[in-house]
């Protein structure tokens, strides 16, 4: 696990992952970014320690301050979530202010995980931080927009989940039909670590 520090740490972690996937060094099985960290997995038949110096040299030389593949997205949201009212009450503000604060930032996709295509978005206003629900719901539909702790995100598949639901979007985060030939497999996913997202109320 590599930890990036200093300026633009999250951007560099995401950019490193993309660079590694575009031109994988020998024996790398996968590279997964999350916030300021990057997990690099090696084929363990080879002793991974011997590859680390080369990996570090490569990272020093690559220009990781800018992720050329990073894209910006505008996500329309209908702010009608089941938990919206109680969430606003919990943080002591009216629903309209809550919605305004949720739309205000430009979020960064810190990582994709939990389920295929599910983005964890960093940049949520601290006044909207709400802990996960005590009892998770057995089924949350795809497209549900939620808040869990200091993060906001969008459910990409119907799954159980414990985040506070504040709205829904019709935008599809994961769609296998999008990667039918001749599209690339990556086309199945709308978002990638390093992308930016802005929510807009419908």
């Amino acid at each position: 696990m590599i930890s990036f520090q200093g300026d633009q740490a999250e951007t560099r972690a995401a950019a490193s992952a993309e660079h590694l996937h575009l031109a994988p060094p020998h024996r790398i099985l996968d590279a997964t970014p999350a916030f300021e960290k990057l997990l690099v997995e090696y084929d363990c038949q080879a002793s991974y320690e011997s590859h680390i110096p080369a990996l570090i040299e490569w990272m020093k030389s690559a220009d990781l301050s800018h992720d050329p593949e990073s894209r910006s997205h505008i996500i329309p949201v209908l702010y009608n979530g089941e938990d919206l009212q109680s969430a606003a009450e919990q943080v002591g503000m009216c629903v309209d202010d809550f919605i305004a604060l949720h739309q205000a930032p430009t979020y960064r996709v810190a990582l994709i995980g939990f389920s295929p295509g599910f983005p964890y978005l960093s940049g949520l206003d601290s006044r909207l931080h709400i802990p996960r629900r005590e009892a998770p719901r057995p089924m949350i539909p795809a497209g549900a927009v939620g808040i869990g702790g200091s993060l906001t995100g969008i459910y990409s598949l119907p799954t159980p989940g414990g985040w506070n639901l504040i709205g829904t979007t019709s935008v599809c985060l994961f769609d296998l039909a999008r990667c039918a030939y001749p599209a690339s497999a990556e086309s199945a996913f709308l978002l990638r670590a390093g992308d930016s997202v802005k929510f807009v109320a419908r």
Partner: protein, 276 residues
């Protein structure tokens, strides 16, 4: 859970939240494949401690390896040349959980993200049901076998019995230091079993309690085999279809080869860990 098509899984897609997947017991899948002359990674059927029947629509060389089921018509760990219309019946057995039925040529199944392994919760592949017809893919076979005199038997060292498990190797996890020394000792001393709330995404361990680390963390990527300790104290081992990121402290990581054994821990079968 039911019968699905599995191969050795997909690599290189965790950054999109796609778990590696693939056979829960990679060893047994590979043995079954080699017994019928397939590449080790060819798609095969994975049965989870199930009953069920398969009818061959043509002559074929077949092998079953693993645990959890006993097949009629076949001895486990050995391939046989069976005639069309043969019905292979699988009955549950008390030891092991996952059986692999390999057919010469492998099962023809479209690959998604580099693998034919089913991951139905994301719409990739499906749980098979009665009436499904499967085809084998002759391009996958490594050699022609029409003149084999009989069945091939797996090497003794490759045959596994799951009535008892060897000690499972584990490495210290990335948050090992967040836990008191007593927690690590409990992990190594306890006799564990898997709890009923276990599946292809994760095995929950019963038998002892590991005190929570008392610190929270941001979600980070998780290796298959990671042992996470949630606030409840019941350890969860991330298995092949497990989430690619997690926010619970990881005290240890089960070695990949030991994971093949752990996957075959039937309810009630005890096992222990050893530090690597």
């Amino acid at each position: 859970m039911g019968v699905t098509i599995q191969d050795l899984g997909r690599r290189g897609w965790k950054r999109y939240g796609i778990p590696p997947g693939g056979a829960m017991d990679r060893h047994s899948l590979q043995v079954a494949n080699r017994l019928v002359g397939n590449e080790a990674s060819a798609p095969a059927l994975e049965w989870m401690m199930h009953g069920g029947k398969v009818r061959l629509l043509r002559d074929a060389r077949i092998a079953v390896a693993g645990g959890g089921s006993i097949a009629s018509q076949l001895t486990a760990w050995r391939s046989e040349h069976l005639a069309a219309d043969t019905i292979i019946e699988l009955r549950p057995s008390p030891f092991g959980l996952w059986s692999y039925l390999a057919i010469e040529g492998g099962i023809a199944e479209p690959a998604l993200f580099g693998s034919a392994s089913a991951y139905p919760r994301a719409g990739m592949g499906r749980i098979l049901s009665s009436g499904d017809v499967l085809f084998s893919d002759s391009r996958v076979s490594t050699q022609l076998h029409s003149d084999w005199p009989g069945g091939r038997l797996a090497a003794r060292g490759d045959q596994r019995c799951f009535a008892e498990l060897p000690a499972l190797g584990m490495w210290p996890g990335p948050q090992r230091d967040w836990f008191p020394a007593a927690a690590w000792i409990t992990l190594l001393d306890a006799k564990w079993t898997i709890s009923p709330r276990s599946d292809r995404t994760g095995f929950r361990l019963a038998g002892s309690q590991i005190p929570a680390a008392g610190r929270e963390m941001l979600s980070e990527p998780v290796l298959t085999g990671s042992i996470q300790i949630p606030p409840g104290g019941e350890p969860i081992v991330t298995m092949r279809d497990g989430p690619t990121v997690g926010g619970y402290p990881k005290i240890a990581i089960v070695d990949d080869e030991s994971l093949d054994w752990l996957a075959q821990a039937a309810p009630g079968v005890c096992f222990r860990f050893k530090a690597l």
